[in-house]
Amino acid sequence: MSKLTRQAIEELNACDDPDLDVHGGTHGICHPHGSIRLFVGIWAALIAFTFLTVAMASWELGALSIVAVLAIAATKSTLVFLGFMHLWWEDKLVIKILIPVVLVLLAIFIGLTYTDILYR
C-alpha cells in the first residue's frame, strides 16, 4: 500500500520529457520561471506586509480593522499564488481560473449561510 501511495503521488508528477513530442509547444514547467531577484523581492514584500499587519493591529481602526487585515492577507496570498506558485506564467486556462473560481464559490457558500445567520 505504501508503495502504491508513493507511486500515486509520483504519478501526479509526470513532467515533460525533451525526447517526447510535446503537445502545445515547449512551454516548460521544466524550464525555470522567474529569477532569484524576483523571488527575493516577493519575499521582502511578504515580510513587509507581515510587519504592517502586526503594526496595524494596535492602531484603533474599529470595524475597519478586520477589512484591512483581510485585505493584506489577500494581497500576500496573491503574491504567493502568482509568484511562488507560478500562476503568473501559467498558460493553461483551466488552471489559471481554478483558484478564483474556488474563492468565489467559498464566498457564495459563506454568503448563503449568512442569509440564515443574519436573519434568524
Binding site: 500500500m1 502504491l4 501511495t5 507511486q7 500515486a8 509520483e10 504519478e11 501526479l12 483551466v94 474556488v102 464559490l105 457564495i108 457558500f109 448563503l112 449561510t113 442569509t115 440564515d116 445567520i117 443574519l118 436573519y119 434568524r120
Partner: protein, 545 residues
C-alpha cells in the same frame, strides 16, 4: 470512424480480462492500473453492496407490512435504515457511475488509452475499499451500528453511544476517494482527448461525468471537514457543534448539506449523461439540442450546489434563507426540464428500436419526471411544512435516485454489456425483468406519496392501523421489485458466462467506444483515433461493419 483500419491485428493481447495477457488470478486484478479492470473491480464491489442494501430494505419492508413488531426491534430498525442509507448513498449511488463507467467507458468514449493517472486510480480504488471496510466495521465495533440515519445530525450524533466516530471517519475516507475520482476524470477529459475530439464533439455521457467530477472536487471537501469535525468533537469536545458549549447545530446542517445536496447531482448527472447517449442510439437520430444538454449539465452542477438550504426549511433556519433557497431550488428545474424535453424531442420521428437499455432509459424519464415534479412540492416553502420528514420525501427521493440513478445504472450495464463481457444477455428475459422491476418499483413507492400526504412520518418503526392497506400494497410492490432485480442480476451473470457472442457494435452506436472490439481489448488504441464527426451522426456508422 477513420481509425477502423488501425484495428486490424492491433489486439493480439485479446480481451482486457484475458488471463493469458495479464498477471493471472486475483493478484493480476488487485494490482492492475488498467481503467477497464479497475472499473470492473468497482462494479463487482458496488453490485455486492447494492445487493446487501436491497436485502436490508426488503427486511424493513417486511417489518413495515403490518402494524406492530414483526421481525425486528425498534433499535434494530434504526440501525437498519442507517445502514441501508449509508451503503446505498456512500457506497453505491455516489461512487456508482463515476467509478464504474467513468473508468470502464470514459477513456474509450474520448479515444484515450487510460485515465490520466492510472496508479492514482488504483490508489483511489483502495481508498474506497478502506472506506467501505471502515463503514462496515463501524457496525460491529465500539457500541454497534450507528442509529443516526445517514445524515449524522448533531447533537444526537455527538451523544449516542454507538459507533459514530468510525462511521463518520469512513465517510471522510470515501470522500477522499470520491475527490480523487473527480480529479482523475477532469484531468483525463482535459488532457487525453483524441485528436479532433474537441469539447463540442464529446459524447454527452462524457459531459455528464465531467460536470459530476467538478461537483465531486468542489463539494466533497466540505463533507470531509464536517465529518472530521464530528470525530474531533466526539474525541476532544471542541464545541463547534455542541449547543451546551455555544455551538450551533444548524451550522452542522449547513455544512452537511453544502455537500450532500450537490451529492444528489453527483448521483443523477452522470446517469442523465448516459441517457443522452442512449436516446439517439436507439432512435437512430442525432440528439436534439446537443449544446443545451451539455450546458444544462454544467448548469445543474453549479446551481445545484447553491440550494442546500431547502433541506432545512423547518429546522429553524431564517425565513429569508428559506425564500432564497426555495427560489434557487426552483431554478434547478429549468435545466432538468431542458434535458427531459430534449430526450423526448430526440425520439420524435426517430426509428425506435426497443431493446432493454432503451426500456430502462424510457423508464428513467418517467420515474425521474415523477420524482422531479414531487420535488416541487418539497421545494415550496409552505407545502414542505406538512410534507417534510414524511413518506412523501422518501418516495420523492427513491423515484429520483433509484428510478433515476438506479435505472440509469441498469441501462448502462445493459448497454455496455457487450463491451464488458463480449457476450449478450437473453434479450427477451431482459425485457420481462425490466417490466417486473418497473411495475414492482411503482407499486412499492407510489403509495409512499399517498401515505406521506396523509402524514405518515419516515424512519418510524411502527404506524397507525389506518395505513395498513397502503403499507401492504407497498410491501408487495417491494417483493415484486426485488424479484425483478434478482432476474436482472441473474440474467446478466448468466449472459456473462454463457450468452451468445456479441458483435462489436450491436447497437450501431457512433461513439468511439463501439469502434473497439467486443469484449474490449486491454489496450484501446495503438494509434490514437482521429475524430472527424459528432458522436451521434449515424449515417456513416454502417461503413464500420
Amino acid at each position: 470512424m477513420a481509425e477502423t483500419a488501425a484495428h486490424a491485428g492491433a489486439y493480439g493481447e485479446g480481451p482486457y480480462f484475458n488471463p493469458e495477457t495479464v498477471k493471472p488470478g486475483p493478484a493480476g486484478w488487485l494490482t492492475t492500473t488498467n481503467h477497464k479492470r479497475i472499473g470492473v473491480m468497482y462494479l463487482s464491489l458496488i453490485a455486492t453492496f447494492f445487493s446487501v442494501a436491497v436485502i436490508l430494505g426488503l427486511l424493513m419492508r417486511i417489518e413495515l407490512m403490518y402494524p406492530g413488531q414483526q421481525i425486528m426491534s425498534a433499535k434494530v430498525f434504526n440501525a437498519m435504515f442507517t445502514l441501508h442509507g449509508v451503503i446505498q448513498i456512500f457506497l453505491v449511488v455516489i461512487p456508482g457511475i463515476p467509478t464504474i463507467f467513468g473508468n470502464f467507458s470514459l477513456p474509450t468514449l474520448i479515444g484515450a488509452n487510460d485515465m490520466a493517472f492510472p496508479k492514482l486510480n488504483l490508489f483511489t480504488f483502495y481508498l474506497f475499499v478502506a472506506g467501505a471496510a471502515l463503514a462496515i466495521g463501524s457496525c460491529f465495533t465500539g457500541g454497534g451500528a450507528p442509529d443516526t440515519g445517514w445524515t449524522f445530525y448533531v447533537p444526537f450524533s455527538l451523544k449516542t453511544a454507538v459507533n459514530v466516530p468510525l462511521a463518520t471517519f469512513a465517510v471522510f475516507v470515501l470522500g477522499m476517494s470520491s475527490i480523487l475520482t473527480g480529479v482523475n476524470i477532469v484531468s483525463t477529459v482535459h488532457t487525453l482527448r483524441a485528436p479532433g475530439m474537441d469539447f463540442g464533439k464529446m459524447p454527452l455521457s462524457v459531459w455528464g461525468l465531467y460536470s459530476t467530477a467538478w461537483v465531486q472536487i468542489l463539494a466533497t471537501p466540505i463533507i470531509g471537514i464536517t465529518m472530521l469535525l464530528i470525530v474531533v468533537e466526539r474525541i476532544f469536545g471542541i464545541g463547534v457543534f455542541d449547543p451546551t458549549k455555544g455551538g450551533d447545530p444548524l451550522l452542522y446542517q449547513h455544512l452537511f448539506w453544502i455537500y450532500s445536496h450537490p451529492a444528489v447531482y453527483i448521483m443523477i448527472l452522470p446517469a442523465m449523461g448516459i441517457m443522452s447517449d442512449l436516446f439517439p442510439v436507439f432512435s437512430r437520430k442525432n440528439i436534439f439540442g446537443y449544446k443545451m444538454i451539455a450546458f444544462s449539465s454544467l448548469a445543474i452542477a453549479s446551481v445545484g450546489s447553491l440550494v442546500w438550504g431547502h433541506h432545512m426549511y423547518v429546522n429553524g433556519q431564517s425565513d429569508t434563507a428559506g425564500i432564497i433557497f426555495s427560489l434557487l431550488t426552483f431554478l434547478v428545474a429549468v435545466p432538468s426540464a431542458i434535458k427531459v424535453v430534449n430526450w423526448l424531442a430526440t425520439m420524435y420521428k426517430g426509428s425506435i428500436r426497443v431493446e432493454a437499455p432503451f426500456l430502462y432509459a424510457l423508464s428513467f424519464v418517467w420515474l425521474f419526471t415523477i420524482g422531479g415534479l414531487t420535488g416541487m412540492f418539497l421545494g415550496g416553502l409552505s407545502t414542505d411544512v406538512p410534507l417534510h420528514d414524511t413518506y412523501f420525501v422518501v418516495g420523492h427521493f427513491h423515484y429520483i435516485i433509484f428510478g433515476g440513478t438506479g435505472f440509469g445504472i441498469f441501462a448502462a450495464l445493459y448497454y455496455w454489456f457487450p463491451k464488458l463481457t463480449g457476450r449478450m444477455y437473453e434479450k427477451r428475459f431482459a425485457i420481462v425483468a425490466w417490466l417486473t422491476t418497473f411495475v414492482g418499483f411503482n407499486v412499492f413507492y407510489f403509495p409512499y406519496f399517498v401515505m406521506g400526504w396523509q402524514g405518515m412520518p419516515r424512519r418510524y418503526f411502527d404506524f397507525p392501523a389506518k395505513f395498513t392497506e397502503l403499507q401492504v400494497v407497498s410491501s408487495i410492490g417491494s417483493y415484486i421489485m426485488v424479484i425483478g432485480i434478482a432476474m436482472i442480476i441473474g440474467n446478466l451473470l448468466r449472459g456473462a458466462k454463457k450468452g451468445e457472442k456479441a458483435p462489436d457494435n450491436p447497437w450501431q452506436g457512433a461513439t468511439l467506444d463501439w469502434s473497439l472490439p467486443s469484449p474490449a481489448p486491454l489496450e484501446n488504441w495503438d494509434v490514437p483515433p482521429t475524430v472527424t464527426r459528432g458522436p451521434y451522426e449515424f449515417n456513416h456508422s454502417e461503413d464500420d461493419k
